[in-house]
Amino acid sequence: MKRLSRYRRHRSVAPTFLVLALFIIGTTFSVASAGTHRSIGTMSRSTAVDEGRQIFLRGCSSCHGLNAEGGGIAPSLIGVGAAAVDFQVGTGRMPMADMSQQATRKQPAFNADEIAALAIYVASLAPGPGIPTEEVSNYERDGNTAQGGELFRTNCAMCHNFSGQGGALSKGKYAPSVMGSTPEQIYEAMITGPQSMPVFGNKIITPTEKLSIIKWIKAAQSEPSLGGASLGRVGPVTEGLLIWTLGLGLLIGIAVWLATKAR
């Protein structure tokens, strides 16, 4: 104890304690705020539409209405099709966590079977775009990466950024990153136009062009970071941050060391 108390006025004590305190607060917060995992039991197996309806009544009807007719806070789902359900519920955006600006991507609340049943139920209400599993299955064969990149930069980059990292829209809304999206989800987003996104119908971007865009995005997702750490692929802001912190910081540290008189 005595040995310890000898160092209590050491000039490194205050910074050490500060770092320690920040670390403890940080870990406590991350442990305390960790999401609790919700498990969903297997459902009874009746007809798909009925199953879907049951899930809908349980998980969606409080906002979208008992017959999916919509309400004050949520749109009607009649005619949105299976693609919209697969996208919104499959990416965890629906059910919404809260009524903020925009539904965020998160862990889906339902499993794949339940989502499929929901999609079948909503599709049964009125015809709408279906899940494009068939269409995207050959994107590797039919798509063209370079052409997809050009289409992406022309139609998508103004919101989703040049490399699909996402970007800000007005009033707290945003275009999400497409780095975690599956080919089906990208296709579904283009044909259903979720949230602020416009619908890119087949006359604006042909199905083959859609496959090219998907192929380019998949290539961008797996593209290695050429030339060193990618710094988030968000342009020069992080580069400027790095030169002022690491770059100039390192050099000033060395300058201080060079100007220190030998003791």
Partner: protein
Amino acid sequence: MSVEKKAGALANYVDERTGAAKWLKKNLTKVFPDHWSFMLGEIALYSFIILLLTGVFLTFWFDPSQREVLYQGGYQPLSGIKMSAAYASTLNISFDIRGGLLMRQIHHWAALLFMAAIVAHLMRVFFTGAFRKPREFNWIIGIGLLTLGIVEGFLGYSLPDDLLSGTGIRIAEAILQAIPVVGSYLAFFAFGGPFPGELFIPRIFTVHVLLLPGIFLALITAHLMLVWYQKHTQYPGPGRTEKNVVGYPLMPVYMAKAGGFFFIVFGVTAFLAAVASINPIWLYGPYTPAQISAGSQPDWYMGWLDGLVRMSPPLESHLFGHTISWNILIPGLIVPGILFTGMALYPFIESWLTGDKKEHHLLDRPRNAPNRTALGAMSLTFILITLLVGGNDLLATHFALSINDITWASRFAIFTVPPIAFVITKRLCLSLQRHDRELVLHGRETGRLQLMPNGEFVEVHEPISTAKAWILTQHEQPAALEFPTEDSHGVRAPKGALNKLRARMSRAAVEQVAKPTIQDAKEIEHH
């Protein structure tokens, strides 16, 4: 013949023909003071040399042409895409030329470092008052270098003709067009027709690799010659006066230190270039006016200008059939004009306000010039706000904020926060002066408590060294300027309002906590 004799004979041979010995003897023993903050300018100088070296390498392969080509190089995701030769050759440098990407990245990191070091050096010179007489001209040269550096950096960023830099050129064109009356003509001349044309990249290439580097070399030489001639300033300390320079000789101490530091700067730049990607133009794609990307930002040294434009409200007026775009004109030209003119004239403004016409070779401790330090903090806060707004879209997405809120908050903050920073900094300086005074009169608090015989606890104070006390008390505390409002006959003095303003500003400038005098110290001893 021994080696020494041979070397001596050679030196003699050269000296007999050039007379260099006398000059070298005088200049190699020149003394420079030692402080880490004096090396910030060195960082700028060395990164400029790195820029020249890597820049020459890049010109060997860069094709500054907007001629359309079909890309067939090594980067597959762009294969078969139409692009300008400038962009294609930059892709070639990055992917198909050995060491090309590393050189490009060293060049760009060195450019960011060059500007950061210039700004850091500028802050050091400003806050220590190194710009005062006789160094006003060198300050102006420095501001010139800063301004040209911003232009040079922007042109370099624009050369590859990628989607990001093309967007930057488009904004530059808009700023040019916003100049009343002549704007659209100027833009037409610069681009040789409507935007983007085929002339702009070749033109800015010449400016980037020939014109501006030449001006840089000339200005840097003048900058250094003036430092050499006027001698370097030094921080106050025992034995240091306005008439001497305390430090080490150029040969061998600074030859080794500065030479070594050059390689360290090169090493750090090369290290950054090796581990961190910069300006990945292959991700941006080639420029076409039909495309735009979210999160288009300039390099950091232009970020403040972008921020000013982003926060500006949509003001436009129509006069005699002409549109005046105040929303671009004010943030893009008028505010930067005021900022840079004010910066360049600052040494003269300060000397006019304080009436200080003396030569200064000893630097100010920033706390001893509270008004100037507060003004500096105020300016930095202003620039920092604009810089933050330059990245408002990234702030919005990464901190879950609304871009509209950020814009509106910044419109108020740009007027209110800098003055608050001024007041806080000035108070901090005065508090630090008060602390210095305490330190000189009462010594250092040791944290040791002593129990007196009468039961009283007192903290033991240790007197500070004479050297330290000298540093804390050596500065001058001039009195405020005073101007008679009327002459001896009772006639109102001319320039009354101007003098009143000057007196008022001078009073603010000299506001100080009185430094301890001999009397103060003697009084303490009586206690």
